[in-house]
Symmetry: C2
Subunit: 207 residues, 2 copies
Amino acid sequence: MVRKTKAEAAATREALLDAAEEMFIQHGVARTSLDQIARHAGMTRGAVYWHFKNKADLFHAMLQRVRLPFQDLVEALDDPELVKKPLEAIRLACISGFEHLERPRYRRVHAILIHHCEVFGDIDPLAMQNEMAEESCGALRDYFHCAARLGHLRDDIPAELAAQLLQSMLGGLFHDWLRNYERFSIYEEGSRLVKTQLALMQAPPAE
Amino acid sequence: MVRKTKAEAAATREALLDAAEEMFIQHGVARTSLDQIARHAGMTRGAVYWHFKNKADLFHAMLQRVRLPFQDLVEALDDPELVKKPLEAIRLACISGFEHLERPRYRRVHAILIHHCEVFGDIDPLAMQNEMAEESCGALRDYFHCAARLGHLRDDIPAELAAQLLQSMLGGLFHDWLRNYERFSIYEEGSRLVKTQLALMQAPPAE
DNA sequence: AGGCATCCATACGCTTTTGCATGTAAAACG
DNA sequence: CGTTTTACATGCAAAAGCGTATGGATGCCT
């Protein structure tokens, strides 16, 4: 086996990225060498340097195999019917996010970004986390403001505060789950938590 | 300057640990060499290898300069008067934790553990985070159960669920703040969030 | 005051990893 | 069908970082 067809070459590229994900999770990004990745995929560093410029390039390619979470989330929110029920829209968006996160590759890459890589070349995982948090909190704020205008939110809870509460809760749940995903399903736990939290912040039924 | 007095030697040891903290935060644990730490403290690696066995030993020493957060938290809860008001006890314990976290060394070490180190020798930061989470959630559960027995908790919110909600919220806030502590004060933000969350879960006044 | 232990700098060998250069056999293409 | 390009494997030089051995000047003890 020396020269592969184009399809086989693409397959080895994916295999290298798969191997990188596994090694990064097991030993951390900084402590895994390109040789370890290549061996774990059944190849040598030659294959790595053929498909990728260097370790940072491989890392980028690994990230680009998954979409950032809020690209999915905002898609889940484009139903115009949901604007009338913003709290329900938030709940469904969260559930949609949970579903996406449970896909193994999705989960692995986020676990690497958040728990198994400190800083790396031109990519700063903390900056990426900040971007994700900003995006998330911004979307939540919009929907909570909408809910407040419609009177769906308790009047003693400002929209900003509601957004911060839910944002922190989601972030904490996210981190806890990524630390040990086998302990519970983020879909089930998250659905319960979001449901009760939204119920708590919902305006009491008019009497 | 060659031989230092004992006090000076102890000072250089502290200076090395300070330098390590700063370099770890700036460049991550894995990507900072002992030489960088020594130079940043105005010394050479000789000083490092005199005071510490190796990088892992230095890391341990750095950790041992701060106490783990829940050692402080449980101390804040030993007032027997607070058992009668468990929700208030939880609030005060959180506030006490926030105060401790705002001390620079405290904050730096936790930021390193959570955001700037992947795995390192015999210490696994994820395991430490899990321990902290377990300890925190356990204490919260106890107090919420106490609150439930006293009727201080809404009867549609089980104690377990209340503990999980607050635990996730605290964790998310903690991570967000460690990512960029200059944006807000965890003491102020945390106090507000905990206060409103506890108010939401509190049993409505009897009528 | 003298000897010893301390505190740190310097120097050396070693391992690991990286980046590139080269080899090569088959696939792709005209 | 011949040539070129592809898709790797292999080998090599260089750098970085670690651990230790050694040196050396001074504080500390008797």
